[in-house]
């Protein structure tokens, strides 16, 4: 099968680079033939800020890859768009978007009707419109140029890490940004999966043939925008993910909450986005950010700032106060970990061999306390073999080498991560019930089939409405299609089979077919339908409403035998 082992990849094979686009910072890495190497920018930095500044002076917008800010305030003048990863693929009904619209210096307009928000950067006193995808694409172009200059070859193939909490919409939008930047996405991998790959490599047995004993690892990853938790079982270079959970909470929430605590009336104060207000908001943001950083190493911080509009803030914030302000965020961390352990059937914390704590927020004392507390160990027992700021990008670079078919003679790439599906996917049936077909934490690739029937006498058409459950009882419409040509029959007689398939690259296909029972061979009566999801694009919030309003229950699906309670 693989006779050509013994040599590293031929020089003409393109090795995909790994990119970890953070809400706040970004990193690039690549497999250099024997190990993963981080790519530094012209300023010799491994961490690059994620932002793009629009201006009239330079011909094209400049991003944070090579640009050096003389001061943080430069980023906060309204001309710079950042937090793209938090905003991408979200609608204006999303609480994250409406919160961001009140605390970010650039413009985010929301109407609260389920359409995409209007985003604009301030250039020469004009609010110029853009989109998170466009901003991300500009940024990715800079990363591409940097990688090409460093590697002295064209770069096209990439592996990107994404938060576990990302919906399939957000994944589509990220892929679109990459396409706009001329990058070909080999994989969008959940950040914990990338960390798991790196961990699996580190745990590889030294002598071949010895598969070693299985180790259970808990990965907790929290950055500026998102938090992910995963439980993995690793042996012999193979990591089987047992549970995956994620949420849109992160350092940005800690920052926003603390800003609100300092200036409770800030929502109304900054709502008009005038030049003076943008400036005050910038001062408040920088001071709060600094204070939070200091609270990781000291018990209290004095904040003394002049917002410039006659408001002076002089307050002392201590660690207890900070933890109280951000109680909700920390509670969510606890619930994510406990949920993930429960889903993974890890009944005792003692069964966890390694606790891996990564991401920008991993240095916050309260976060360390929460994770070590649940896992019942001391801070010194946290897994120390991984750099918390580089874990995801190193894993992405490993995946890039694997996906590019690189062979390593030393067996350092003899790795595999078996992933799970982060969110349940199902259809709407029995009027308004979400019926999951592929549950969350199902091992990928996955294929599940379920049979439904008609709701009405002589119903000739049925509407398959596909949802993704991104959070408890919070479903996003992914798409819909009709199954037509159902033979006239009593309600409950035709069998409408819906099959969902997610392949190893996480692509979702939904298939549907109709069978009439008792008519000889069980063959579909009409051609089957196969639909790649998501199909619904921007405005899917409105779309779900429209479907319900216009079609009502006419094309409903029903689970047979009354097994479901409506």
């Amino acid at each position: 099968m693989s006779e050509q082992t013994g040599y590293t990849v031929a020089s003409d094979t393109e090795i995909a680079i790994g990119i970890d686009i953070g809400t706040f910072q970004c990193r690039l890495a690549v497999w250099n033939g024997s190990q993963v190497e981080l790519i530094r920018n012209t300023r010799n930095q491994k961490l690059m800020k994620s932002y793009v500044t629009f201006s009239d002076e330079s011909p094209s917008p400049v991003g944070g890859v090579s640009n050096q800010l003389s001061h943080e305030y430069e980023m906060l003048s309204g001309a710079t768009i950042f937090n793209m990863k938090r905003l991408i693929g979200r609608l204006d009904t999303d609480p994250i978007v409406s919160k961001a619209s009140k605390t970010l210096p650039f413009l985010i307009q929301t109407l609260g009707i389920g359409v995409r928000p209007f985003i604009a950067a301030l250039v020469n006193n004009i609010w110029r419109s853009t989109t998170p995808e466009e901003v991300l694409a500009i940024y990715l172009l800079e990363l591409k140029a940097l990688a090409e200059a460093r590697l002295k070859r064209p770069v096209r193939d990439v592996v990107l890490t994404v938060p576990a909490a990302f919906s399939r919409f957000q994944l589509v939008r990220i892929a679109r940004s990459c396409a706009m930047a001329g990058l070909h996405v080999l994989r969008l991998m959940p950040e914990p999966a990338a960390v798991a790959l790196l961990y699996a490599q580190q745990q590889m047995p030294k002598n071949m043939g010895d598969s070693g004993s299985e180790k259970i690892g808990l990965i907790f990853n929290m950055g500026a925008g998102y938090c992910d938790v995963a439980v993995i079982a690793t042996a012999g270079g193979v990591s089987q993910m047992k549970g995956l959970a994620g949420s849109s909470i992160g350092g940005e929430d800690l920052l926003q909450n603390t800003m609100h605590w300092l200036v409770p009336e800030m929502d109304s104060l900054f709502s008009s986005h005038g030049l003076e207000e943008i400036k005050s908001m910038g001062i408040l943001r920088v001071a709060t950010q600094d204070a939070i950083h200091q609270l990781s190493s000291q018990a209290s911080v004095q904040i003394d700032i002049d917002l410039g509009n006659g408001t002076r803030i002089c307050r002392v914030i201590d660690v207890e106060e900070f933890e109280e302000i951000n109680k909700d965020v920390f509670e969510k961390c606890v619930s994510l970990i406990t949920q993930c352990l429960r889903d993974s059937k890890v009944v005792k914390a003692e069964y966890i061999d390694d606790v891996i704590l990564v991401g920008g927020c991993s240095s916050i004392p309260k976060i360390r306390q929460i994770v070590t507390g649940i896992c019942k160990r001391s801070e010194t027992e946290i897994y120390s073999g991984i750099n918390p700021m580089e874990a995801a990008v190193r894993g992405a670079a490993l995946e890039g080498a694997l996906a590019s078919g690189v062979n390593d003679p030393l067996g350092n790439l003899d790795l595999l991560t078996i992933q799970v599906n982060a969110h349940s996917i199902g259809v709407r049936a029995n009027r308004n019930t979400f019926v999951p077909i592929i549950d969350r934490n199902t091992t990928l690739p996955a294929r599940r089939e379920m049979v439904f029937t008609t709701a009405h006498e002589n119903q000739t058409e049925a509407l398959i409405v596909v949802y993704e459950e991104v959070d408890d009882a919070n479903q996003l419409l992914l798409g819909y299609f009709k199954v037509v040509g159902i033979p006239a029959a009593r309600s409950g007689v035709p069998e409408i089979s819906v099959c969902m398939d997610i392949d190893a690259s996480n692509m979702l296909r939904v298939m549907a077919g109709v069978i009439m029972p008792g008519s000889g061979p069980r063959k579909p009566v009409v051609p089957l339908m196969e639909v790649r999801m998501p199909t619904a694009d921007g405005g899917h919030g409105l779309c779900a409403d429209a479907l319900n309003k216009i079609l009502g229950s006419n094309l409903d699906l029903v689970c047979p035998h009354g097994k479901l309670n409506t």
Binding site: S2, S248, I418, N432, F434, E449, L476, L477, A504, L542
Partner: protein
């Protein structure tokens, strides 16, 4: 969150109440014989794959379905760690991401592992398969279903 059934910010139109969460096990296995490929497939060939395959005729033949132990290539009295090792080495060959790319279905391998790695489900599987050899296959009953997933017993 975004555009869900549960958000009701403006109330511009009648919104759906939150969806309930339920699960059922009604299965038809129309797509059982259908093998999804992991590259974008032409729709035409996909449909033919399904339409050409007749589940009843195909599986009602004399071919005995593989036992889960056979799927994992382990002994009936394999230890849990042997089962884990077997699963991992098969994954390295048959997982779509694996370099070797065998042509067997990884989903089937994982399902076998999921049953056999859990002591309770392994015990009930063993019990069922012992019954199966005693009672034998009933004619024309669930011939189109894989018996280990069938709950009719």
């Amino acid at each position: 969150m975004i555009g869900t059934l549960t958000t009701s910010a403006g109330g511009i139109s009648e919104r759906l109440p939150p969806l309930n969460y339920t699960g059922i096990s009604g299965r038809l296995h129309l797509f059982n014989s259908f093998r999804f490929t992991y590259k974008p497939i032409s729709t035409k060939s996909a449909f033919h794959a399904v339409l050409d395959a007749n589940p009843v005729e195909r599986t009602a033949g004399s071919r005995r379905p593989e036992s889960l132990y056979e799927v994992l290539r382990v002994d009936r009295n394999a230890t849990p760690s042997e089962i884990k090792t077997a699963y991992r080495s098969l994954a390295k060959i048959y997982h779509p991401d694996a370099k070797l790319h065998g042509d067997r279905d990884f989903i089937e391998i994982h399902n076998a592992y999921a049953t056999l790695s859990d002591p309770a489900s392994r015990a009930s599987y063993d019990l069922k398969s012992r019954l199966y050899t005693v009672v034998g296959r009933r004619q024309g009953f669930y011939t189109c279903q894989r018996w280990e997933t069938d709950q009719c017993w």
